[in-house]
Point group: C2
Chain length 263, copies 2
């Protein structure tokens, strides 16, 4: 069944009046007809209405509510992805997949090794496009909220922004540094993976409600960025022994968070 997001004000009694871009999508793109069923998700509350179309007008579609459910598809932890700005098609891919996997917010970050710099005069247009991708992905994966894609930030602004999260993670290629150096040469050093699992288990057992994850761009983080994130309290983790592309890393960490936190 096709899902659309609606504003709480669209609901009146047992009727829902769909307006805006969704009307064209329902009537002309999907060519739905009177009597067909749709799933309408109320923003903010995440309430899902199962409704039948009763009339299609040029600028509105009126539906009759058949059933309502409050089943949540949201992760119990609000994850923000701070994505080192990659090439355009990769960023769009990250938005789509991060939304599919439960992120609530995606922040493009201009990092030292980002090859793409967004022309300031085009930020508004880009941002509108990114948010449209997020909305479409949220509909397709039947999310209860539309994740927001924010305007691009500097690394420093992103660190300040992430300060609102209960914890910050930063996956980084640690494998090259000898374990003894990282753990102060203790006799039984943990592997990078064991250390990472221990950090994530700790966060889960504390039931943190918000997590910020920093992802390096194609060329990776500059070491000064890693140091700065550490100062701000970020946990440096590994994503395993293979080298992941910048657009794969957010998918991997969101999958891990799902595995650990999902009820």
């Amino acid at each position: 069944m096709n899902q659309f997001f609606i504003d709480p004000s669209a609901v009146e009694g047992n009727r829902i009046t769909v307006t805006g871009d969704n009307v064209n999508h329902i009537a002309n793109v999907l060519r739905l007809r009177k009597g067909e069923s749709v799933q309408l998700v109320e923003q903010l509350s995440g309430l899902t209405y199962y409704a039948d179309i009763v009339s299609i007008e040029p600028d509105s579609v009126v539906c009759e509510i058949q059933d309502v459910q409050s089943e949540s598809r949201e992760l119990p932890v609000a994850v923000t992805i701070y994505q080192g700005m990659p090439k355009s098609d990769k960023f769009e891919f990250v938005i789509q997949k991060a939304v599919e996997l439960g992120a609530v917010r995606i922040v493009p970050v201009n990092m030292k090794r980002s090859v793409v710099k967004i022309d300031p005069s085009k930020v508004d247009k880009k941002c509108a496009r990114w948010n449209a991708i997020a909305e479409s992905a949220a509909s397709q994966s039947k999310r209860g909220v539309i994740p927001e894609v924010s305007v691009p930030m500097s690394f420093e602004d992103a660190i300040a922004d992430a300060g609102k999260c209960e914890a910050i993670l930063l996956p980084y290629e640690l494998a090259s540094a000898p374990v003894s150096e990282k753990d102060g040469g203790s006799s039984e050093p943990l592997s990078d993976m064991d250390r990472t699992r221990s950090i994530l288990n700790e966060l889960r057992s504390h039931e943190v409600k918000s997590l910020g994850v920093f992802i390096g761009p194609e060329g990776g983080f500059d070491i000064t960025e890693v140091d700065r994130a550490c100062e701000a309290g970020a946990h440096i983790i590994t994503l395993g022994n293979r080298i992941l592309r910048t657009e794969t890393a957010p998918i991997a960490i969101l999958s891990w968070i799902t595995y650990l936190f999902e009820k």
Copy 2:
């Protein structure tokens, strides 16, 4: 540093002679020159040679070994992805990402709801292309082996093939069935996620060495396929409360396996 796969026979004393397609790639695509360093991974052993280019000929590149390492980037469990045949571009994406995330083999499976049927006369050409994508992804993510993409199989053949694995997983949308029905109405039923975590933890504590994972195509599994897989001993699991696309599901499960099994 650029990585290439070499045959064990390419190594002789402290010299390695690179031949085949890699020569053109090194000399004309990447335009590497004498004195530059490359990483050469010996197939089967996974040994990594760090070597400097000493000469570039029209059909060979000779390198001098500077260092050799046996550091493994392979997962401790051999994962085969049995992917319900999706549209062509999605399958190529699955190959790239599955290789990046550590799968050792990818098997395209013709499932009931697969919309794409491969023309038998084109199988050889398709297969060559898929394996080239796997090799390129293996180089980029510095894998020690080149995962194989097999010829497309029927569902029944895939089930027989997966019989060689120590365990079989099949992610399926369970969320719609009431939990009480699935657990025989026990008083404290596990959630789908808890049940899934318990299955995966069991497999990890038994240190299984091989895992087959069945992924449904765009339209999902047909219920008869799920039943057949159950008969063959597959564990039915959930990948969380959101609906994942067919090409996202293998990435999510490979990420979970990395989280659980990586040393």
